[in-house]
């Protein structure tokens, strides 16, 4: 039986972060930048599309300058609502503006080995194992290729990764590791086998593709061409900006939003110009440079504000958002990881970002930790409960119960208590034991999370992929290896 998916819906708390005037100013500034400065699209296919629609294209610098109305018209063609399909239809994810779904983070290069505790390079078996644990955990709605299968050849690695995920989970698969047209064609072919044909795939996209922009104001050629292949087949395609204050964007937050926005909406507009009505999504994980090292921070107040603000922009363009949250810069599951991942997730959830990326990685999305993965799920679970807000009605005001207990009594033995107590949050990993018990055992959340991951890997059997389908997918990958 497939696991249900814990998604946030019907939120009862909200955030006031950008006024309509703020959004309009960011939008106007963005169009100004796209039209007057331009965005670099280093792909002749992409440039052809722009040229055919009347944008100014410089073939030498590969910079496109597009008038604002062209961008606006193109974005209007993007569907506001669509569904990320899963192998198991019961686990489909409608991106309808009223759900927040969590995925795994990606794409890490090292992993803390679950058995030995050693830090080592990631491999294909890790992708499979992480997918299997994700399949069992209800907080995780979709699986983003979590770590790189470095024991497989670079030009087919991304395909082995999605195969390993499909073989170990019935949930939706998303990848950001496909950067060439050839790989994208193979991925589409693989997805079509899973969906049961190209037309079925269009209706039920079991795979979605994310690409990264190249800030400031640039795209990656291979990524653009891979995205076009995916969009043609009807796979949802997103572009993620990771503009960083003071290095790849202005030091000011609003300026950062403009640069990132220009990258994302220009890419989405190009997709809509090529394939009107193609499902696309906004994706972002803006940040600020660490002022001392120049490095990626993986957290901090700027990141949290971007997490809250970006869905306001995505809503303005009426497309779903995939928001980078979690992604701590901490080296191990610790205080910093808890602070980073709690605040980023809270902010992205309050603004109802459609997808959150994602659980499990440390050190700025480089090191996979099963402990962090499950602790991140608990953070999400806390936010999930907070988003239910405070319901005020006769039943919850509980006047009869307050009267029955009166001054000085207690509410423990009230039927009302028994009826509602299971609405109260119960942690899996918080240490709420008596002090003496902790003193005796000296264990804690990390130990329990590790134990749980081990137990899932030892016992959870995902719904298997038909061996014939598996063989067919392997044949498609092999055809690229000739």
């Amino acid at each position: 039986m497939s696991r249900k998916i814990k998604s946030i819906s019907d939120p009862r708390i909200s955030l006031n972060i950008l006024s309509p005037e703020d959004v309009q100013r960011i939008h106007t500034a963005t169009l100004d930048i796209i039209e007057s400065v331009g965005v670099r699209f280093p792909s002749h296919k992409a440039l052809d599309i722009w040229e055919a629609h009347g944008a100014t294209v410089d073939r030498d610098t590969m910079v496109v300058k597009a008038p604002g109305h062209l961008i606006e018209e193109a974005l209007k063609k993007a569907p506001p609502v669509y569904t990320l399909a899963a192998r198991d239809p019961a686990q489909d994810l409608p991106l309808d503006g009223n759900h927040v779904y969590v995925g795994t983070d990606g794409c890490g290069v090292q992993i803390i080995d679950l058995e030995t505790g050693e830090l080592r390079r990631s491999r294909l078996q890790d992708v499979a194992d992480i997918a299997r644990v994700s399949d069992d955990v209800e907080e995780i709605a979709f699986i983003w290729t979590p770590v790189s299968a470095q024991d497989y050849p670079p030009h087919t690695r991304s395909l082995y990764e999605i195969l390993a995920i499909w073989e170990n989970t019935t949930k939706h698969v998303q990848t950001e590791s496909i950067y060439s047209e050839e790989e994208a064609r193979a991925a589409v072919e693989m997805a079509a086998v899973i969906a049961g044909g190209k037309e079925e795939l269009r209706k039920r996209p079991v795979l979605s593709i994310m690409q990264c922009t190249t800030p400031p104001l640039g795209q990656d050629g291979g990524s653009l061409e891979a995205a076009l292949v995916a969009a043609e087949a009807g796979l949802p395609v997103g572009f993620m900006t990771m503009t960083s204050c003071a290095s790849t964007a202005p030091a000011t937050l609003a300026g950062n939003l403009v640069v990132g926005n220009a990258e994302v909406i220009s890419a989405l507009a190009m997709i809509e110009l090529a394939y009107p009505g193609a499902p696309v999504f906004y994706a972002a994980a803006q940040t600020a440079m660490d002022l001392r090292t120049g490095g990626y921070t993986g957290g901090g107040p700027e990141d949290f504000l971007f997490g809250g603000a970006t869905n306001v922009l995505a809503d303005f363009y009426n497309v779903p958002l995939s928001m980078g949250s979690f992604a701590t810069g901490a080296k191990e599951p610790n205080w910093q990881a808890g602070v980073d991942n709690s605040l980023s997730t809270l902010m992205a959830c309050i603004s109802m970002s459609d997808m959150l990326l994602g659980v499990g990685l440390l050190h700025g999305s480089r090191i996979w930790s099963y402990e962090q993965m499950l602790l991140d799920c608990e953070i999400y679970d806390i936010v999930y409960h907070m988003m239910k807000g405070i319901v005020v009605d006769d039943e919850t005001l509980a006047l009869d119960v307050i009267r029955a207990v009166g001054p000085g009594g207690n509410f423990l033995a009230q039927k009302h208590t028994k009826k509602h107590m299971r609405e109260l949050w119960v942690p899996q990993f918080m240490d709420r034991r008596p002090y003496t018990e902790w003193q005796e055992k000296r264990d804690g959340p990390r130990d329990w999370a590790r134990e749980k991951a081990r137990q899932i890997l030892a016992t959870h059997e995902p719904e298997p992929l038909d061996p014939k389908v598996s063989a067919e997918l392997k044949r498609i990958i092999a055809s690229l290896e000739k």
Partner: protein, 216 residues
């Protein structure tokens, strides 16, 4: 069918239904069932189930308290008949419990009392703001095995030591064990004042009491 009745009794405890438990206890009396059988083959089965479910993380503290309330109600109905037959319910021990004088914090102490009673102890709850001498007198009167002293304030906690000393002066120690509890209390404090045990929560208090009377 007596088995069905016993099963219903257990269920009334599991559901924490006080009225059901009382009704089933009366039914047992009407049908001439030995009240000790009603307790041990019926209600106690429910208590044990709730305890197991709690330990497994499936049930919570309010479930335990409601089960305790239902158990108490059933036993109250059965007790006169137990006495009339000249029989006695086998208890784990007798506990005198209260919140120390100057302190009116009740809930933790009451919770411990309920848990102990549900677990099979005979419990005398003296309430709050209880003078040191009252603990001693009651312990002598009911031949207590354990005296439990609760304090929530650092200013009243010091009187837990007075209870230990007063029991000693009265010649009741070391036969009468002393357990202490309350937010400011630690194992270190319990050791320092010569108390026999400390627990941070009600579940631990039951385990401690069982240990002190050699029931575990």
């Amino acid at each position: 069918m007596t088995d069905d009745l016993f099963q219903a009794m257990a269920q009334s405890i599991i559901d924490g239904e006080v009225e059901d438990a009382e009704r089933l206890a009366r039914e047992a009396l009407e049908r001439g069932i030995d009240p000790l059988d009603a307790i041990n083959k019926g209600f106690v089965v429910g208590v044990n189930y709730v305890g197991d479910q709690y330990a497994a993380g499936e049930m919570f503290l309010p479930d335990l308290v409601l089960a305790g309330e239902a158990m108490k109600a059933a036993v109250a109905v059965l007790e006169p008949e137990i006495a009339r037959r000249g029989t006695e319910r086998e208890m784990l021990g007798t506990v005198v419990i209260g919140t120390i004088e100057g302190d009116i914090h009740e809930i933790g102490k009451t919770l411990v009392a309920t848990m102990l009673s549900t677990a099979g102890f005979k419990v005398y709850d003296l309430g709050v703001d209880v003078p040191v001498t009252a603990f001693v007198e009651k312990a002598r009167e009911v031949n207590a095995d354990i005296v439990g002293v609760s304090a929530l304030l650092t200013t009243t906690m010091v009187k837990q030591r007075d209870v230990v000393e007063a029991l000693e002066d009265a010649g009741l120690r070391p036969k009468v064990k002393v357990m202490v509890g309350g937010a400011p209390v630690t194992q270190g404090w319990a050791d320092e004042i010569g108390a026999d045990g400390y627990s941070e929560d009600a579940i631990g208090a039951v385990a401690l009491a069982k240990r002190l009377v050699g029931a575990e």
